[in-house]
């Protein structure tokens, strides 16, 4: 049981030129792993995640989740967008249930459990406009998790949040990951975030988007950002970026 990514090529076609976004990405994520994908803007990390979700199907290659080929979006590949994308006319609990019927006792139970897990008790009846951005993102995570996905894909989920909320949500996410033992893939441009969360880090380089290096973190949870071993990994990741820096930015692209 694992996620197999084999992307030969993903490109956007302009009028006359072809812009290769991803080139020869070959990755295997074991069940229960937490892979973070990091890279400069324009390296195609979000595109990679959209392909895994089945939201983008125009590429050469194949995505295999637990022996099933991904062809379209599905509940099995839970997806968290950069913005929370809650339905503004539904309350928190209705958003989590979404198309499921809250009057069904089984659904009710699951929603209540999930609200407990993402620590939103007391806000069940609030509308998205009445809660903060961090809370909204937690609702979005709950909405994906309640459907028991085989893998949860997160596209820079905390990018728009302030530093405190972000750290808090990172802890919430680790908590969920450990409780639910679910495979997670998180795209970020924050090096600390990628080390803090991931069991493994995939470093992408831009133009074209290729896998630069796969770093195994190997630290126990919960991690401390100030710990020397954390810093050591940080140095390692930064070194990888230095290698590609001159190349990636040579034409002023990818910034």
């Amino acid at each position: 049981m694992a996620v197999d990514i084999q992307i030969v090529e993903k490109s956007f076609h302009m009028e006359t030129t072809k812009n290769i976004v991803l080139n020869g990405i070959d990755l295997r994520i074991e069940e229960g792993d937490f892979l973070t994908i990091i890279g400069p803007s324009g390296c195609g990390k979000s595109t990679l995640l959209k392909i895994m979700a089945g939201l983008d199907t125009e590429y050469k290659g194949v995505i295999d989740i637990n022996g099933r080929i991904v062809e379209k979006p599905a509940i099995a590949q839970g997806f968290i967008f950069q913005e929370h994308r809650l339905f503004p006319w539904l309350t928190v609990e209705q958003n989590i249930a979404a198309d499921l019927n809250l009057k069904d006792p089984a659904v009710r139970q699951k929603v209540d459990d999930m609200i407990e897990i993402v620590r939103l008790k007391g806000y069940e009846k609030a509308f998205p406009s009445e809660i903060s951005g961090g809370m909204s993102q937690r609702v979005a995570i709950a909405r994906a998790l309640i459907r028991d996905p085989e893998v949860l894909l997160l596209d820079e989920p905390f990018g728009a949040l302030d530093a405190f909320t972000r750290q808090h949500l990172q802890d919430v996410l680790i908590d969920i990951w450990q409780k639910k033992k679910i495979t997670m893939v998180l795209v970020t441009h924050d090096i600390d975030e990628s080390i803090y969360l991931g069991t493994d880090i995939a470093i992408l380089r831009a133009n074209p988007g290729e896998l630069q290096k796969l770093v195994h973190v190997g630290l126990s949870y919960p991690r401390s950002r100030t710990d020397p071993s954390f810093q050591a990994i940080r140095q390692k990741v930064l070194k990888e970026f230095e290698k590609t820096d001159t190349e990636s930015y040579k034409d002023g692209e990818g910034i």
Binding site: A53, F79, F87, P88, W89, L90, A98, D99, P128, A144
Partner: protein
């Protein structure tokens, strides 16, 4: 001085709240303009500059209103008028809503249906009136159909636009969560376009009311429009005014009703509602 300052601090009089209290409430503000107009009007009419058949004084209109109410004549006319408007509205708005949903939802049906609708939409109501009379006579049917015709388009156009302006990002969410077509409609498309639909209903109600007058003026033996026509023939100008005022009041009431509906159904929305 020190004592004074403390007294102010501890007293329950908050200067800001006091200031707010002195301002007249919003609903009262709406009455200011009509009150001024009526006062000036009464003054002009009272001085006898114009004949009463041209411009009866507000007092005379009120008297006429009271006598029409007491005799019950007004209610008979109002009842039939409201019934006509309601039937026409329900028919027209019902079809408009359904068609708007279908055309908004599916690109294919848009191609087949929308161009025709846009042609029909630009035809003035008054232009089709003779045709409707020719086909359906002076009966209730022609009146109701005329009202239905008028109230069809606002809701059709607004429903269509409402659906088409639903955030594409939310459709991505619906895809990721594997919403069925039905759930897409009930959980996403319908609530997202509800504010447009309600606007359509408001405009449709207005259009229904408007064409009711046209329908009743063109020939009928009951209804507020008839009452106006009848009074005109006998130069009872004050009665004409009573009819006009009734049209105004009922129109405003229905509009307020939809607004209340809007407030209740769209309470999740926190949009700008004007500075104080």
């Amino acid at each position: 001085m020190k004592v004074d300052a403390q007294q102010i601090a501890y007293s329950n009089v908050d200067p800001i709240i006091e200031k707010r209290k002195r301002k007249p409430p919003l609903w009262l503000k709406g009455f200011v303009l009509p009150a001024v107009v009526i006062a000036v009007w009464q003054l002009i009419a009272g001085l006898g500059f114009v004949s009463e058949t041209v411009l009866p004084s507000p007092l005379l209109i009120v008297q006429s209103f009271i006598s029409l109410t007491l005799s019950g004549e007004i209610f008979g006319h109002l009842k039939i008028s409201i019934l006509r408007a309601l039937c026409g509205f329900l028919l027209g708005a019902g079809i408009g809503l359904t068609l708007g949903l279908i055309v908004g939802f599916s690109k294919r049906s848009e191609g087949y249906i929308d161009p025709t609708m846009q042609i029909l939409r630009t035809i003035p109501n008054l232009a089709v009136t003779p045709l409707f009379i020719l086909w359906f006579g002076f009966d209730e049917l022609s009146k109701i159909l005329l009202i239905a015709f008028a109230s069809f388009f606002p809701i059709y156009v607004n429903t269509f636009n409402g659906i088409r302006s639903v955030d594409a990002k939310l459709f991505d969410v619906a895809r990721v969560l594997e919403f069925s077509k039905g759930k897409q409609l009930t959980r996403l498309i319908f609530p997202a376009s509800l504010s447009s639909i309600l606007l359509g209903i408001r405009l449709s109600l207005g259009a229904a009311w408007l064409s009711l007058v046209v329908a009743e003026l063109m020939g009928s033996s009951s209804g507020v429009g008839y009452m106006i026509m009848d009074a005109r023939q006998f130069s009872q100008t004050e009665k004409v005014f009573v009819g006009i005022i009734i049209f105004g009041i009922v129109g405003k009431l229905t509009d307020s009703f939809v607004k209340i509906l809007e407030k209740r159904l769209l309470k999740w929305r926190n949009s700008f509602d004007g500075v104080n």
